[in-house]
Symmetry: C2
């Protein structure tokens, strides 16, 4: 008997993702899976997003890291319920890890749950966590060539955020080329450029989340 | 019968790494495995390193990417023999991939072989390619907190390069903290800060490679 190990493992992941999705839907919780390279600015983006939305929405966060709970501490400092997952070397979160954290949240009182994935532009792209939307953050100093060089990630995401636009004067990054390359890989993907640090472009991102919330969540 | 699949796979990888190492040693080729997050500047560092060393050393490159041969083209433009490996989604190079490229080189005429790994701060760290040295590049805009957050990578490398020091005035990066964190994780690791773009600190890195060459290669 030949066992297709990969298929079996993925089936289990998909069951867990389905389970998560059902729970999130039942509780009217919008879930956004945030992915990027290390240091693209996911945590700073979350900090500024939370500051801008916390008066209107009840927000919670699942923080994925190989080690440390530094990012979780940054978000807890804003009064946000944050659960840390340490993968101890694992290069992505999976739906079973997410399922284990759900009992720690009171989902009836969470409107938006952000999942900050491991900093990795490869591995997280293949794993459905049960989210409503996948968002990838690409930062200006990484260079716009990362879109064609890491196509699997950009092909599978709903929104690409170009972060750290404040660094555009100091590095080589072609925003038009990024748009063209993204359209070629994923014609349905949206692209937004912003700087979480200076606030430039943040309003459009916040509005995108609000639209996503009102489209997905039944009241 | 229970088969420990992971152990078996790793055994095979280790055999391939041993095979590569033997070949490289026999041909007096110094091999450096260069790793980093996407966009930390490995290819630009290689371009500038090659320009500085090509009069004295015969250099060749193995380029790892998920897709495209853009980086290989950049190095071929310098007249350097470069073999591209596309992993088609795979998040790291392994010793068997390297072994398959070796026939494409005339190792008797290669003094230094650089292997540019997939842009990923997690997966490549666990795979011995048969190199003499592992070097990780961390770029200033990623933030110095990446050292404790991705300890497996920094624990297993011989040299950490902090690249893009020209961006230090524009982002938050604490070089002293980086040194302290690296020492705590890997007391034997060296750290060098440089900017491949401006040339600041490049001489020390070039001298490090020359020392490595003269220490490792028998004449």
């Amino acid at each position: 008997m030949k066992i297709n190990l990969q298929e079996d493992v993925l089936k289990d992941h998909n069951l867990a993702a389905k389970f998560n999705r059902g729970l999130f839907n039942d509780h009217n919780t919008l879930v956004i899976n945030l992915m990027s390279s290390p240091g693209a600015g996911k945590t700073t983006l979350l900090e500024e997003t939370i500051k801008a939305m916390t008066n209107e929405f009840r927000i919670a966060v699942i923080e994925g890291d190989l080690a440390t709970d530094r990012d979780a501490e940054r978000l807890r400092a804003l009064g946000i319920k944050t659960v840390q997952i340490n993968t101890v070397g694992g290069c992505h979160l999976d739906a079973r890890m997410i399922a284990k954290t759900i009992p720690e949240f009171d989902l009836d009182h969470v409107d938006i749950l952000f999942i900050e994935n491991i900093g990795n532009l490869v591995c997280p792209s293949g794993y459905d966590l049960g989210q409503n939307f996948k968002v990838v953050v690409l930062s200006v100093p990484e260079g716009n060539d990362k879109i064609p060089k890491y196509p699997v990630m950009f092909r599978r995401t709903d929104l690409t955020i170009i972060n750290k636009t404040d660094l555009l004067p100091f590095v080589s990054f072609d925003l038009d080329e990024a748009k063209t390359d993204l359209e070629a890989i994923n014609p349905n993907a949206e692209l937004k450029a912003l700087s979480a640090k200076t606030g430039e472009g943040m309003e459009e991102w916040i509005n995108w989340i609000k639209d996503a919330y009102h489209q997905c969540i039944k009241h």
